[in-house]
């Protein structure tokens, strides 16, 4: 028989307890690089509403994970990613990617950015183009992925000791109720009660907009994680 000559993906291993010196040495108090990566997700020139996002990552015992590292990947205020296939030009100073570690004592993490705009949904397959009625919902009450623009969201990737392969999730915004209601990815989650685990809650502190987003790796309120 003929062989398919594909290579196979390199397997993942945990980032371990010392991921901070590797990927965020400056934040971990270790001065080695002139320029640490991941601090400038949205520079001063980036357009849009300035926001802060804060949260914790909670393990199955209910305790915060204090040695976690998160990466964020988001579109700019116009829904475009700074990437050759990101949908168009992006203003200088918008990097779209950030990296953050937690406070080793409290497990709190936070980063400053701008609120992303809605992003076009994937293109529907020609053979599966739905009717107007199907556009509303499928038999399971779920939406199709290839229909409406996706609500503003930030893609998150989480690694830590004890996490054998990085966890992917998405952060949506509580003040985008209408867009969230029709978001094709949120609607893919069959269990409506789990959808709220992806919604960051908008608040304010000293005049600054702060969204709260706790991620539950396991337990009653387990966050929805995606296989992307």
């Amino acid at each position: 028989m003929q062989r398919l000559n594909y290579l196979r993906e390199t397997p993942s291993q945990t980032a371990g307890p010392y991921v901070h010196i590797g990927l965020a040495p400056g934040a971990a108090g270790f001065d080695i690089y002139e320029h640490e990566l991941g601090w400038d997700i949205a520079g001063p020139n980036a357009e849009g509403e300035r926001i802060r996002i804060e949260g914790r990552v909670i393990d199955g015992t209910g305790n915060p994970v204090k040695d976690v590292l998160l990466e964020a990947w988001q579109a700019n205020a116009h829904g475009k990613y700074p990437h050759p296939e990101g949908g168009g030009e992006v203003e200088d100073g918008f990097r779209g990617w950030g990296r953050v570690i937690t406070d080793f004592d409290t497990g709190e993490w936070g980063f400053d950015t701008i609120k992303p705009g809605p992003v076009p949904a994937r293109a529907p397959l020609a053979s599966m183009r739905p009717t107007a009625e199907e556009e509303q919902k499928d038999a399971f009450g779920r939406g199709h992925q290839g229909l409406r623009a996706m609500a503003p969201h930030i893609n998150l990737w989480i690694v830590a000791r004890g996490i054998n392969i990085g966890l992917n999730t998405r952060l949506y915004f509580s003040d985008e109720e209408e867009a969230n209601a029709t978001d094709p990815v949120i609607n893919l989650i069959e269990w409506e009660s789990r959808r709220k685990t992806l919604i960051a809650q908008r608040g304010e502190r000293y005049g600054q907009v702060v969204y709260r987003f706790d991620i539950h790796i396991q337990g009653e309120n387990e966050t929805v994680f995606f296989d992307i």
């Binding site: 397997p11 590797g22 990437h83 397959l125």
Partner: protein, 241 residues
């Protein structure tokens, strides 16, 4: 406008499961529900782009990038190889980051209290970009094995942590490189979270005598494979295009 092609779905059998009870920390840090599988959108097929301006001149040289009074103690090694995708195409201009213990098995991290000493000349982290052909290399000292709390007598084989980006957020990968012939590899609960021996082999760097620098530095070869991408055989077009 062409519809951007998607990446092949991840072969989860190739990777360790989230819940691997012999690696005890994974028990409370593993989701219990199934992952929700997404068809990829722009959010997944794009990812951060890095340039040489992001890096310093010595970032890929762990022997020199933290040297204060001289070179660090330890066996001088070069690690080199290519970043490829599952179609065997090189992944050019992608960021590769590494971190590791020193030759005694101690990390420069405030949470590491192992009795092997800190090396004043060794930081233990570095980074580089692949070239146009997906090729990368860095120079360092071979890390030492060290004990860790899991069962009372578990030892990590010598290893280097690697982080690779690829061209999209869905290719993001963190893994560990082990060294050919290390007797601790089959005994390590973290290595053994990987269910298949062939996959463990893919994490084991091979001694590469041809790439050594005679009388100076020994070399290991380590290729990294990221997810591959579909060719668009039957094109789909976005509405209105």
């Amino acid at each position: 406008m062409k519809t951007p092609a998607e990446y092949y779905q991840r072969d989860r059998d190739r990777h360790p499961p989230a819940y691997a009870p012999s690696y005890k920390t994974s028990v409370a840090r593993s989701p219990r529900y199934a992952l929700i599988s997404l068809q990829q959108s722009t959010s997944e097929i794009t990812g951060p782009v890095f340039g040489h301006n992001d890096l310093g001149a010595l970032d890929h040289d762990l022997i020199k990038n933290y040297a204060q009074t001289g070179d660090p103690v330890g066996e001088r090694i070069i690690v080199h190889g290519r970043v490829l995708d599952e179609n065997a195409r090189p992944v050019p201009n992608t960021l590769v980051e590494v971190w590791q213990a020193n030759a005694g098995g101690r990390y420069r991290h405030k949470k590491d209290t192992y009795l092997a000493p800190i090396d004043p000349n060794f930081g233990g982290c570095g980074r580089t970009m692949t070239d146009e052909n997906g090729y990368y290399f860095f120079r360092t000292v071979k890390p030492g094995a060290y004990p860790w709390r899991n069962m009372v007598n578990n030892w990590r084989p010598a290893h280097i942590h690697l982080s690779v980006f690829g061209a999209s957020f869905c290719q993001r990968l963190v893994t560990q490189l082990y060294f050919e012939g290390d007797p601790l590899i089959p005994l390590c609960p973290i290595v053994q979270t990987i269910p298949d021996a062939d996959a463990i082999g893919a994490l084991t760097a091979k001694l590469d005598l041809n790439a050594t620098i005679p009388l100076d530095t020994i070399a290991y070869k380590f290729d990294i494979v990221l997810r591959g991408r579909r060719s668009t055989l039957f094109e789909n077009r976005l509405e209105g295009n």
